[in-house]
């Protein structure tokens, strides 16, 4: 039993989470319902926001999440990739976005593209593993070209696969470059890189082919709110309990972690230890639950994706001190928006309250008030970046966060010249 726990701890509980999700899939729906729902998921154009809970049902969605997790866990094991903070964040992000946009069908061409880039550069494929795990945020371009254009399959399938491979091929170089744009203050850097590519694809499809990219609209299902709320609480509890089992005095390590700015590349597993990182992951899950409960946001696939991503980045830059201020800034506009515009706050704003934590390092570096302001600017910008990138970049908040960080960080640096600098302890 102890050996099993140590193995699970070494993999940050990921195999256990896979098993929980897999078991849940079959406890909610019959085999035939899962099969039918899963086929619907695979054939969906998957552009933002395509909630697989609505398209395929809870059982099929959980099956999709679990299988994609399994494939990636197997790949990481085969390549002997260490479970570092960014790898853990990548895995939980994949799990999260498998609720609304990622499936086995649309992710593979992108992986092949990155593999070809590594081969071309004469580098190990595993050295691009962080890009690999986050790359599938642009997978809707594959599904859209195959199922969303109305092209016959003999054109759509090659077009989707070729564009997917091309996207994977250019992404490592592009993402290494874009990280300089925001100086690491946007934790979803690859989302920003993919947003730029998506913008190009959206422009080409609209201008050259005359497609209306927003014809599919937004599909969400809030029918499984309580099931997913319980799942989040269970997962958060598992992580917190695991941290305490590993080290009863684990909380003594928390103040040091909370002092980190979170700016990329902040690997909490490597720098602070697995025990306190697991506690932080669980705490970030609970904070997400508190925010959605207070704001009366019901959990759909996209919101669940946001929660899992926030938890994942609990190992790679996010903690309560740097995340809550930006979430408060976003929550302020979420509450104010219906009053100002007269329309209820949509799912885009709801998920932005969670995904705004992409810019948590801004609060970590400049403090609470600057963080709140940055969170507010972020949520106001996200609807516009969505239109720019046509919905192909599932990490739309990462795209927006890149601009927010690039815009605000130089201004904040100018305003706050005497930033307290950490001294060597």
């Amino acid at each position: 039993m102890k050996t099993l726990y140590l193995k699970l701890k070494g993999r940050m509980m990921m195999p256990a989470i896979f098993l929980i999700l897999f078991a849940m899939a079959f406890s909610f729906d019959s085999l035939s319902a899962i099969y039918e729902g899963y086929l619907n998921i695979l054939q969906s154009p998957s552009v933002l926001i395509s909630d697989y809970l609505e398209i395929g049902g809870l059982g099929a969605t959980l099956f999709n999440v679990a299988t994609i997790m399994l494939i990636n866990i197997i790949m990481l094991n085969r390549l002997k990739v260490k479970m570092s903070g960014p790898i853990f964040a990548g895995l939980l992000t994949i799990a999260g976005f498998s609720f609304f946009g990622k499936n086995i069908f649309n992710t593979i061409p992108i992986y092949i593209g990155i593999y070809l880039y590594a081969y071309y550069q004469k580098l190990e494929f595993k050295s691009f593993m962080i890009v690999v795990l986050f790359s599938t945020g642009i997978s809707p371009i594959v599904s859209y070209l195959i199922f969303g254009t109305g092209w016959p399959f003999y054109i759509g399938v090659p077009a989707g696969v070729i564009v997917g491979i091309f996207t994977g091929f250019v992404l490592p170089a592009l993402s290494a470059h874009t990280i300089r744009f925001h100086k690491g203050y946007n934790l979803y850097n690859i989302g920003f890189a993919m947003g730029i590519l998506s913008m190009l694809y959206a422009a080409m499809l609209t201008t050259l082919f005359g497609f209306d990219l927003f014809v599919f609209g937004t599909t969400t299902s809030e029918a499984y709110h309580y099931e997913l709320l319980i799942l989040t609480l269970v997962l958060s509890s598992v992580f917190i309990a695991s941290g305490f089992i590993a080290n009863r005095k684990v909380l003594r390590k928390y103040p040091k972690l909370l002092k980190r700015t979170g700016r990329a590349v902040s690997d909490f597993i490597r720098d602070e230890g697995r025990d306190i990182t697991m506690v932080n992951v669980g705490v970030m899950g609970l904070i997400s639950v508190i925010f959605i409960t207070v704001l009366r946001i019901e959990i759909n696939g996209a919101v669940m994706g946001g929660i899992l991503t926030v938890m994942g980045f609990g190992a790679f830059g996010k903690h309560p001190v740097n995340s809550v201020p930006v979430m408060l800034g976003a929550a302020f506009w979420f509450l104010l928006s219906p009053v100002v515009t007269g329309d209820p706050a949509g799912v885009g704003l709801a998920i932005a309250v969670l995904f705004v934590t992409a810019i948590a390092p801004i609060a970590g570096r400049f403090g609470v008030l600057f963080g709140i302001f940055a969170g507010f600017v972020h949520i106001v910008l996200t609807p516009f970046t969505y239109v720019f990138q046509g919905g192909f970049d599932l990490y739309n908040n990462g795209f927006a966060a890149g601009f927010v960080a690039a815009l605000l960080v130089p201004v904040f640096e100018f305003l706050k010249k005497n930033v307290p600098e950490e001294e060597m302890e």
Partner: protein, 116 residues
């Protein structure tokens, strides 16, 4: 040597210079030796604080991670606080600190893993 490796070496030199200047060293020497696959960075500084050397050793002696290197090497040289040696630590294979009276010689080494 591959162009990517040359870019990374240049960034390491910039990061080290920035780090030393941020910590108030007005006189220091930074020598670079490139030998086939291994590059050495030899830093000589006068009267360093013990805490600084210990922290450098702790941050840089961690295991090199190629996955993080390919992802975040472009951030090198953009240090925002005095403590940010995390990215540098990911790109260095070994650190040796030789303490002499009122002086320290720090030797960092990096093995190129990029094929030409």
């Amino acid at each position: 040597m591959k162009n990517l490796e040359l870019k990374i070496l240049t960034k390491i030199i910039r990061e080290l210079s920035h780090f030393l200047l941020v910590h108030g060293f007005k006189t220091f020497s930074l020598e670079t030796k490139v030998e086939d696959k291994v590059t050495y960075f030899v830093i000589s500084i006068d009267q360093p604080k013990k805490a600084l050397l210990d922290k450098m050793n702790e941050r840089i002696s961690r295991e090199r991670e190629l996955e993080v290197e390919t992802y975040g090497w472009e951030l090198l040289g953009d240090m925002d606080d005095k403590n940010e040696l995390d990215v540098l630590g990911l790109l260095i294979d070994d650190i040796v600190i030789e303490e002499k009276p009122n002086q320290a010689v720090i030797t960092l080494s990096r093995v190129s893993r990029y094929k030409d």
